[in-house]
Symmetry: C2
Subunit: 337 residues, 2 copies
DNA sequence: CTGAAAGCGCTAACAT
DNA sequence: ATGTTAGCGCTTTCAG
């Protein structure tokens, strides 16, 4: 592997000039430029990224910290992040935190030592102190969903409350009259907001009762159990709005086992818009978040921040969209009532 | 951030000693060891990974090159790789190649410049020349599925041919008599082997005909189209063995649309064992690969290779297992005939 | 057992 | 416009 020195020698100039040429920093004569170009080609020179990193404290590497890449929500997000990153010449380090603060901290330590340029957090454990500390240490951070106070970093999220309302409205418009909600763990801001949106939309309805809200765990199993509990408690519900798609899938499974028709007896609506919703039977109505776009946006913001072209930290709230499918399709619906 | 110099000064020894202590290379007196420990703690010293990388050409970073993290087969694999890597103190860079040689090559270039310690390929485009070149340049490589000739690198794969046979046997034992196969793109060695296994198992049966083998694309869409074509051509098939789970899901969808009962009229069996197979209706019988283990093994091997403790390159063929579920459950089956 | 010193390959003043 | 040079923070001979 040729070094910058070799190139300098062959081109008959100093290493500084080569460096300037490489980084387009400072002037360099057109003629010498040509000489340099030739030398580089002749030697098949490729600048060494590690040396650059050490000298310039910039590694063109970002990290993506998420709870678990095998949770179906994240692969698409990761794909988007990596796509954008590689488009801008950055490389992505993948970290699974399992939402455990300890793991997160330990990743952060490692990443700092590696002169990572920035971090994307798609995690819930992170507290604002951590974020501020990172920012203070000069490591740009961008978050997904989690909003640390004092706006110490940019945030990308989607309209959870509005999404929940969309779901309820849709179910009502399909003729449902007793709509239950399986909510996710309340440590998750998303779960909280969706629950709030649900409550807001239904609390003025005559059938409303807190017993229609059941806790789930954002996973299939939890959706199953919550549904069982719910159907026992309220055999008369005619719709379930689950706080995420995984729990909605669980609801589908549970209802099927009980012999309850979907959507005939009970309509089911999820939240997130992961691919799974298209392969269930019946296909699942869901409030889709623009997952890929969220990933793309979050990494574009991080890169801007790294390169110093970000005006100011901001919170971006992306629109969600109701995707109506079979699981909520009821004949007695009156969409245009 | 304290540097090794600061520690040396505070401990009253030279940087060389600190380095030896840090890397457990060379002797260091127990007493000085204590002094060093204290100094490190006092300064909260953390060795700089980039500097280490430059000086020692070892970055404790590996890369995982796969076709697409959003393809449901890969997240679990990636999770396993990252789990093992982080357990051994390595960090993982994620690369999506889309099975395009150009992208792969360009990743390799970048990774080389970053002094990556090794690469895991879960890709099909890579030709053996590339692998050998990498190996020659001193970058350890381990492959998934793809076996480059001359055994220039270790390979982890699973028993595709045997798996296909398991599938056919299972279908036969469930009473199926006309078993079709939707095979994947023949550039994929896995698709080829599964097809071969299928053919071997059925070619001696009286109903056998090449028209029972239909090409798919390893995705849901292709599974749907292939199934439509198949059912038109052979309305009398009573089982479909798909070359992977995604196509099996497609088959399920297509059959459902046509009003064909599964497993009543047609049984369906997939291959891979991805999570999706548990949420279809009916749940999908599949030949499960030990995906997580494959990822864990492949990364353990790579790390061994990096650390020079790997005896010799080898090909590891992991067992697959038939996971019987509803989609092949036929009353007229005689499991124990 | 420990220290001095020469890099690793590049960047960024500072000087010319 | 270009060259000189001092680092970046650590590893690793080679002496002692």
């Amino acid at each position: 592997m040729a070094t910058i020195r070799d190139v300098a020698k062959l081109a008959g100039v100093s290493v500084a000039t080569i460096s300037r040429y490489l980084n387009k920093s400072g002037y360099v004569n057109v003629e010498t430029e040509q000489k340099i170009k030739k030398a580089i080609e002749a030697l098949n020179y490729e600048p060494n990224a590690v040396a650059r990193g050490l000298a310039g404290k910039k590694t063109n590497t970002i990290a993506l910290i998420l709870p678990d890449i095998s949770n179906p929500f994240f692969p698409e997000l990761a794909r988007a992040v990596e796509d954008v990153a590689s488009m801008y010449g950055y490389t992505v380090i993948l970290c699974n935190s399992d939402d455990e603060g300890v793991k997160e901290k330990s990743y952060i330590e490692v990443l700092k030592k590696k002169y990572i340029d920035g971090i994307i957090f798609a995690s819930n454990t992170l507290d604002s102190a951590d974020v501020e500390q990172m920012t203070k240490k000069g490591i740009p951070v961008v978050c997904l969903d989690r909003v640390p106070p004092k706006q110490s970093c940019s945030v990308v999220r989607s309209k959870n409350r509005e999404g929940a309302k969309l779901a309820v409205e849709h179910l009502l418009s399909m003729g449902c009259r007793k709509i239950a909600h399986i909510y996710g763990p309340q440590e998750f801001i998303t779960a909280k907001e969706r629950l709030a949106g649900y409550e807001e939309s239904v609390k003025h309805l005559d059938w409303y009762s807190p017993t229609f809200m059941i806790q789930g765990d954002f996973r299939i199993e939890g959706g199953i159990r919550a549904t069982e509990l719910l159907m026992e408690r309220h055999p008369d519900v005619d719709a379930i709005f689950a706080g995420n798609d995984l729990m909605a899938v669980g609801a589908l499974k549970a209802l099927h086992r009980m012999g309850v028709q979907v959507p005939g007896q009970v309509a089911v609506c999820g939240f997130d818009g992961i691919g799974m919703t298209e392969i269930t039977q019946p296909e699942l109505t869901t409030v889709a978040q623009p997952i890929y776009e969220m990933g793309a946006l979050v990494s574009r913001i991080l890169i801007k921040k790294i390169e110093g072209t970000l005006e100011a930290d901001q919170t971006y709230e992306l629109d969600v969209a109701l995707v109506p499918r079979e699981s909520t399709l009821r004949r007695n619906g009156h969409e245009s009532s």
